[in-house]
């Protein structure tokens, strides 16, 4: 449906996109996640013909949308876009929603019917005659969504549409996105810096970093087997440890980091420099005198370096030669008698260690 072929974009001396390549399939929700300034908005603006790429090509249904010619209006009318900032025209809600239909020369009766349907779809029935600027941010964003959807676009582009909204409004917008995709089959490209939102909505995720996709995959792939150290950090893996492979064979290997050996279930060649990614929820912290080690796994002795409260939990960091952090409830901490300076053993399975080769 949408092909991104080595797309780059420069603004004067600043390079925002430097060779984005990927493909969005028809009918899928593809979320673009990445830190602020990664180029997510720029990429969506290029697809919506609001900017032109400096290099590469974007094809929709095989048409190079930025190629010279008169097809740009036709291509643009295949897409709808909702922007990060809720913006409405200074008129009524109904008139706002009707704008795209008027541009297409749709008759008055049809406009009235479509606007009523669109208002119902976004849960704003009865709001038609209100001044759009008197609505809340969440309601304005739903008007923007209705305004984009009323023209029945094949592709819906959403540029961080929930970034400025309260949690209740975020939930409503997310429900609508899922429903639009499911009921109408609209292909949706949704950018967000909220990785969990990306996970909730997407069939596939593209992680945009340093102007290109660092990884494209299903939410499960991106969150459990991040392709790079930066992706791992962005998707919330707290423990990332650099080391060097010292032994390998039989589908496992040993990595030395901070003077400690860590067993992994990934076959690697000795001498390779790698980063070990271990999710905090896969760690088990137990007092040094207790039983603990997972058979065939890792059991690293260490000392509790810090216990930092975080809501009803505490973030416990243990120095095992390198720092490893996990989150424990206050009650667990009390039961185990763990506090700053306590000798403990951190255990985790070899399968819990995701290995990425250093860039």
């Amino acid at each position: 449906m949408i092909e991104l072929d080595n797309v780059s974009k420069r603004f004067d001396a600043t390079t925002v996109l430097s060779g984005v390549t990927g493909r969005v399939e028809q009918g899928e929700i593809f979320t673009v996640i990445g830190p602020s300034g990664a180029g997510k908005s720029t990429l969506l603006r290029l697809i919506d013909l609001l900017d032109s790429p400096t290099g590469g090509a974007i094809r929709i249904k095989g048409i190079d949308i930025h190629a010279k010619g008169k097809q740009s209006l036709r291509v643009r009318r295949m897409t709808g876009m909702v922007f990060q900032k809720p913006a409405v025209f200074n008129t009524t809600v109904a008139e706002n929603i009707a704008v795209g239909l008027r541009f297409r020369g749709v008759g008055k009766t049809a406009i009235r019917a479509k606007v009523t349907d669109a208002l119902t779809m976004v849960g704003l029935s009865g709001y038609g005659e209100r001044r759009a600027r008197t609505l809340s941010g969440g309601e304005m964003q739903r008007v923007a969504l209705a305004r984009a959807m009323v023209t029945e676009p094949e592709i819906l582009l959403m540029d961080e549409p929930t970034a400025n909204l309260d949690p209740v409004s975020v939930e409503k917008i997310e429900e609508l996105v899922l429903r639009i995709n499911r009921d109408l089959g609209t292909t949706i490209l949704f950018s967000t810096h909220d990785m969990y939102q990306g996970q909730r909505l997407a069939h596939r995720i593209g992680v945009l970093m340093d102007g290109r996709f660092a990884q494209v995959g299903t939410p499960r792939e991106v969150f459990t087997v991040p392709a790079t150290r930066d992706v791992a950090r962005f998707v919330g893996i707290e423990n990332i440890v650099d080391g060097i492979v010292v032994a390998g064979g039989n589908g496992t290997s040993a990595v030395e980091a901070g003077g400690v050996r860590v067993r992994t279930a990934t076959p690697l060649s000795p001498g390779e420099r790698v980063s070990l990614c271990i999710r905090s929820e896969d760690l088990r912290i137990a007092p040094a005198d207790g039983d603990g080690a997972t058979p065939g796994g890792n059991a690293l002795p260490g000392t509790v370096a810090s216990v930092v409260p975080r809501g009803p939990f505490s973030r416990v960091t243990v120095d095992c030669g390198f720092p490893l952090s996990s989150v424990l409830s206050w009650k667990t901490l009390d039961n185990l008698g763990i506090q700053g300076g306590s000798p403990v053993v951190v255990s985790f399975a070899a399968e819990s260690v995701h290995v990425v080769r250093e860039d």
Partner: protein, 233 residues
């Protein structure tokens, strides 16, 4: 002090009793300035839009020049129009000097820069997301221009109101090209509120001056109310 208080009381009487002279001068002022504003609007709004939407070398300098002309002295405009319309001037054959038409031309020239500049500002004030939304909704070039103008309509109306306010309150150009003539017919007289206040004050008719001054202030107040109302939309 006593004279001033007496002048204010007399002024109130002239207004309340709808003194024919005061009413005629007030009406003439409104007609001349309103006509100038309409003519200036027809030129300034499309011109402002063309400059704002257009891409051409020297655009920034042109906008700077227009903004500089906001403070164009009225007597300079008056002198310029006087020279153009005088018998020896290039347009002398039209015989427009010392007519209401000459005053309309002068006021139009005077308010054109401020109305053009404020139109450009009004269009610049439209949220960039609104402009992107219009493009994204599939607007053609014409639909886009029309919609942005529509979005800026209240700010453009405020520009028109500001233009009218400047036109009705100026005195330099009006006296130079109008001549402050009180003829037998309404249409051929050129005495307006500002020129009349100047004349009556110099003749010592303080109460007449104050009455005309109050009318001018009321018109300014009305214009200000309209601007505030528009800007609150």
């Amino acid at each position: 002090m006593y004279e001033i208080i007496e002048g204010i009381i007399e002024a109130a009487r002239l207004i309340v009793t709808l003194d024919p002279d005061v009413m005629a001068i007030s009406a003439r002022s409104i007609v001349i300035s309103l006509t100038a504003t309409v003519v200036a609007t027809l030129v300034a709004v499309p011109l402002g839009a063309a400059i704002y939407f257009g891409t051409f070398p020297g655009k920034k300098s042109l906008i700077n020049l227009i903004q500089t002309l906001y403070s164009l002295p009225t007597v300079i405009v008056g002198l310029l129009i006087f020279l153009l319309l005088s018998r020896v001037g290039p347009f002398g054959f039209f015989r427009l000097l010392f007519t209401p038409t000459a005053m309309i031309i002068a006021q139009t020239v005077l308010i054109l820069p401020i109305m053009t500049g404020l139109t450009i500002s009004a269009l610049s004030g439209v949220d960039p997301v609104i402009r992107d939304t219009l493009r994204s909704l599939g607007a053609t070039r014409f639909q886009f221009l029309k919609s942005v103008m529509k979005e800026a309509r209240f700010a453009i109306l405020a520009a028109v109101a500001v233009g009218f306010g400047r036109a009705i309150s100026e005195v330099g150009a009006a006296i130079l090209v109008g001549g402050n003539i009180m003829a037998s017919s309404f249409a051929s007289s050129t005495r307006v509120l500002t020129t009349a206040i100047s004349l009556e004050t110099s003749m010592g008719n303080i109460s007449q001056s104050i009455a005309l001054g109050i009318v001018l202030l009321l018109i300014a107040l009305a214009v200000n109310l309209v601007i505030t109302m528009i800007q609150n939309r």
